[in-house]
Symmetry: C2
Subunit: 667 residues, 2 copies
């Protein structure tokens, strides 16, 4: 890279920093960059972090970038899918159409501030009232010289996992550009016979480039918009996207984009949204591939950035990808306890998830219980990093079961992190509640049978008393929410207390399995600026809620004794989520756990039966889980996975044909 170009990226980083602090860009920087890029085929990849439905906020941000792009005279500046609205916006546009009107008004305003630089801005396009199909298109407007020059509309609408496009969006019957006058009135009967490309750009939206018939074995859609665009020989493909980190492994995306560029001998520019909207965390990592399929440029992951590239001159900069985003394609096919390669991605995904949830909702502070256990520990570290240690309050809330070590571990952790810490015993509350409830239970028992001989009631009272403290603080102090510390493995087992540890304003690790949390804790100790903030004792101790005494040992109950080994549990979860394995294939194939812990078939069956039984009755808990961050390739997040709670009687084992015959023919 010659000096001018090195300079371009150095100066651009200063520009990014100034943008993020809301500062003006010094004139001399603008001049220098302009002299390098003006009118020479440079394109800006503006990966921005929008707020869902906050049109003014998004429009102002877009305007800032457009004005700058015009000043330095870029040929083109590209924003992500639905940049004006934020993606996903879900049913909001249907119930509150005012935001659709607003996004069109602001779009027209944005058009007016463009000069020679073309800007591609994603927006929700309303359709004519009685048009056939859904009410909206997912569109990109081409803005230039003070006007809307054309509209591109999304043809392929994902409707799996967290995606719901088809709920409210009509698939576009036309690929590529249609004239500006079709805005708001476009439909199958209004397709203009015009060029699909604009100034040599072949423009598409997200899923539109995910259906290459050669690259993929399985095709969700019939149409391949890129193939259609390619017929008109654009000089550059542009794809405006909003793709969360987990939806597809990066390597798949990389290979696919590279394949498309090479196949059509055409560079491709891919611009992805960054930031989190509720449960979905978008990684940015926008990039450009040359006509030979080679990666020319890649923006940062998990940060807003305007990356300037020149696809035809092969000018760009490849920023390092967050480790874990680049997982290889076959890596997800076998369960492994080697989480190392995915932990940086896990970390940044959750940090962004927390910090954007707080910022976008207007929260500043978090309070959580510190039990001295792994779950609350990892949550505390993540919160300290996401919202600042002074904004985190850790409360140790010992009961009579809580060990001295748990208390001192919690305190040491808080000290290491620099978060606020105090201790508040729940014993008076437990005592009073127990007394009140025992009286009440005796009363109830006079009319009702079925009182359990041994129950989880005392365990739950402890967990709920703690939540009462945390919600109390959140009610008493402004801009503060309590944190739900449940992890994925335990949520699968319903091993979490309603209105207790699974309750909170946000659940940072609800999609992180326990075995990964152990690796994660070690990774945090190694990779954070302040090393070893997590006391080794916390990582070494066997997880247990310290809510009950195990009658067999006389010591606090160990979770694995109540459930099953986490290594075994996490493999079941992984195989169900990633390979759709059922009961029979789980029984009949060897687990990683079995390689070094030989177990009998009876033991395996006992654990599997327990798993399916507990999972079936955990469905209700999944449905009331607080907002969380989707991390793994599949989750139990209610906006990602839906199963009727009343389906708890599913027979996951299946039956054989003889059984069916006998059952149906008997009278």
């Amino acid at each position: 890279m010659d000096n001018t170009l090195a300079n371009l990226y150095e100066l651009s980083e200063i520009v990014d920093k100034r943008f993020s602090h809301g500062e003006d860009i010094p004139q001399n920087i603008i001049e220098t960059i302009r002299s390098t890029v003006s009118g020479k085929g440079f394109i800006g990849l503006a990966q921005i972090n929008p707020i869902a439905g906050n049109i003014e906020y998004n429009a102002k941000k877009i305007a800032k970038y457009i004005k700058y792009a015009c000043k330095i005279n870029l040929d083109l500046i590209v924003f992500p899918e639905l940049a004006l609205m934020g993606y996903p916006i879900e049913d909001t546009i249907d119930r509150h159409p005012v935001i659709v009107d607003e996004n069109v008004k602001w779009l027209k305003g944005l058009a007016k501030i463009t000069t020679n630089t073309t800007a591609l801005v994603g927006f929700i396009e309303p359709r004519e009232k009685n048009a056939e199909g859904k009410k909206y298109f997912n569109s990109v407007a081409i803005l230039k010289s003070g006007k809307i020059q054309g509209i591109v509309r999304k043809s392929l609408l994902p409707n799996y996992s967290e995606f719901n496009d088809y709920r409210y969006i009509e698939p576009s019957p036309a690929v590529g550009v249609q004239p500006a006058e079709t805005l708001g009135v476009f439909g199958k009967d209004k397709i203009k016979n015009c060029s699909k490309i604009f100034e040599n750009y072949g423009i598409s939206i997200c899923e539109d480039c995910w259906n290459n018939k050669e690259f993929f074995d399985k095709h969700l859609y019939e149409k391949d918009p890129i193939e259609e665009l390619a017929q008109e020989n654009p000089q550059i493909f542009i794809n405006c996207s909003a793709s969360p980190t987990r939806a597809k492994k990066e390597q798949l995306k990389h290979n696919m984009l590279s394949f498309i560029a090479r196949k059509y001998n055409t560079p491709i520019v891919y611009v992805n949204q960054v930031g989190a909207i509720d449960n979905s965390s978008f990684d940015g990592s926008s990039r450009v591939f040359g006509a030979d399929g080679e990666l020319i440029a890649r923006a940062k992951s998990f940060e807003e950035q305007l990356l300037i590239v020149n696809p035809q001159q092969k000018i760009g900069k490849i920023y390092p990808l967050t480790k874990g985003l680049d997982k290889s394609l076959n890596e997800q096919k076998i369960f492994t306890l080697e989480y190392e390669s995915d932990l940086e991605r896990t970390y940044k995904t959750i940090i962004q998830g927390i910090s954007d949830y707080f910022k976008k909702c207007g929260f500043k502070r978090a309070v959580l219980g510190l039990s001295g256990g792994l779950d609350s520990t990892v949550c505390a570290v993540l919160l300290a990093d996401a919202i600042g240690e002074k904004n985190v309050y850790g409360i140790s809330m010992p009961s009579k079961i809580t060990s001295k070590e748990s208390r001192s571990d919690a305190e040491e952790l808080a000290h290491n992190l620099g978060i606020n810490f105090t201790e508040a015993s729940i014993r008076p509350m437990i005592d009073t509640t127990d007394e009140c409830l025992n009286k009440l239970f005796a009363e109830v028992e006079q009319k009702w049978d079925g009182r359990y001989k041994t129950s989880f009631t005392p365990d739950n009272i402890q967990a709920r008393s703690r939540a009462m403290f945390l919600w109390g603080i959140s009610n008493e102090f402004s801009s503060c929410i309590p944190i739900a510390t449940s992890d994925k493995s335990e949520l699968y087992m319903g091993y979490a207390t309603i209105n207790g540890d699974m309750s909170g304003g946000f659940a940072p690790i609800a999609d992180v399995p326990k075995t990964k949390l152990f690796a994660f804790a070690r990774w945090l100790n190694k990779n954070r600026p302040k090393k070893n903030a997590i006391p080794e004792a916390i990582i070494l101790k066997k997880p247990g809620a310290e809510l009950a005494i195990d009658p067999k040992t006389g010591k606090p109950l160990i979770a694995e004794d109540a459930l099953m080994p986490y290594e075994f549990l996490d493999e079941i979860i992984w195989r169900i989520e990633n390979k759709n394995d059922g009961y029979q294939s789980l029984i009949n194939t060897e687990f990683v756990y079995e390689k070094h812990n030989p177990i009998t078939r009876e033991q395996k069956i006992e654990w599997l039966d327990k798993f399916f039984r507990r999972m079936s009755t955990a469905l209700y808990k999944w449905s009331i889980l607080p907002p969380s961050v989707i991390v793994e390739s599949r989750s139990i997040n209610k906006y990602d996975y839906r199963q009727p709670i009343t389906s708890s009687k599913i027979n996951y084992k299946g039956v054989n044909d003889d059984y069916i015959k006998t059952t149906l023919t008997s009278d």
Copy 2:
């Protein structure tokens, strides 16, 4: 109706009753019915109540009906959409494909028990592994003479409100019947050029008949499967359906089916699922229209039934429709406080919702707090009716704010209902919690500013202490869940305590607005066998949570003083949900409330601003709301309406063009 036919319906009711009790049908009844219907063009409409994913349960139920239909030698017996799987099944089929395998196996078993009678059985049809598009079809199998004779697949896939078909179902490229050998291997390239109709039946599935181009002004889809079927002149249209009561008003359905019959001069047989699956309550009310569009037969609402009809001989029986299902088409266009006409439907929808949730999940008993207020009162009545009064425990949990009247009203209600009742003071818990928390707050305040001068903390502690009692009972006694008593108006305003009154295993009235609850209470008093179970005082008192004292009055705070008049509030909600009204049109059009309570524009603005502000911050609460019953035409149920929580900064008022211009052009 001649004697034989009157006899047919009398005997059929005995059959229905025996089926519902799991009893055998006496041979003489079978003989009598058989002699009337055998081989004469009679059709059975089998509206059954399936359990989602419980294939064996559903298959056994279907088998029972098929065997009976064969014995009496019906020409045809028709089951609802996805009868073997239950509708909706959602993502379950994707994550747990074993249930799809099972539903195919049981389907084949069912085919084997058929004789001369044709049976139409809905099921999920898996597709070939690499087939283009989604993995499944939503299909109906035609079973006869021991074999699958053909398959019909759904073409139009609803994806609005609670419907999610397109998430996992591929729209069928072919209308009508395809040969049995296409089972599991059908696709666009496998369409057989065969007759679309089977033995003169033109068969379709649910949404397939909802796109008539003449009847509807707005069309969601291009295709009209009924029009295609009509080309082959079937003698009877059959539609297998699963349509919850609220999705479309009955009158619309009635008019549409009648229109189709008349237009094509062909009778139509419509079979609807009955029962509730989680939040969706299906009403059954299956029916038949003659070739002239006249209603010939209608099954009961909210009950399993096998209704025998003869569309061509115009033989049928019209059971009374639950009042409210027949609301006229224009009734929904204007907000009204006249709820009377809809209350029977409301009642049955919720009763079925509660009772099926309990049955299908295996719960038997419910415990709820009785405050002496309207919400908990109506919940108690509904629970007593849905699961039996002895299975309900009402607990009065007074605090120091609770009035003597509230306590005696609660007790009187419990007595009138015959439910179990006891009183348990929360004062010791409040005192202990307050003491613990005050200490803790003082501690926290040393590090954190922003402590509220007046907070809701004490109010919330009361609500949470009560929930602690209720969850305690649910933990201690088998098969028991606590009930969340929040109503729709208050949920809109976020006027419900997290882990308090909005917490529970089920929320019966979460979709009933407050003004409707008043009318509902009066209706219950008038229409239940035991009259006036609800003390008049409960209906007359102004709602208030009795959690805090109003400093202005020195008495417990009245909710309307904290919020706004319920009549005004409910009209905003209704207009937003039903007419997509925005802030500006709400300001500029007269409310029903204003007709008899003149208010200033400032007052109106104050209320509207409060509404939009509170609704924006209630989104989190909506996301963790327990399972409930969707009652109204729109709801905030998370499986029906989705809005990102981080969209709380939406500007519902919009801005004008000048503001946009100034904002975007300023530097």
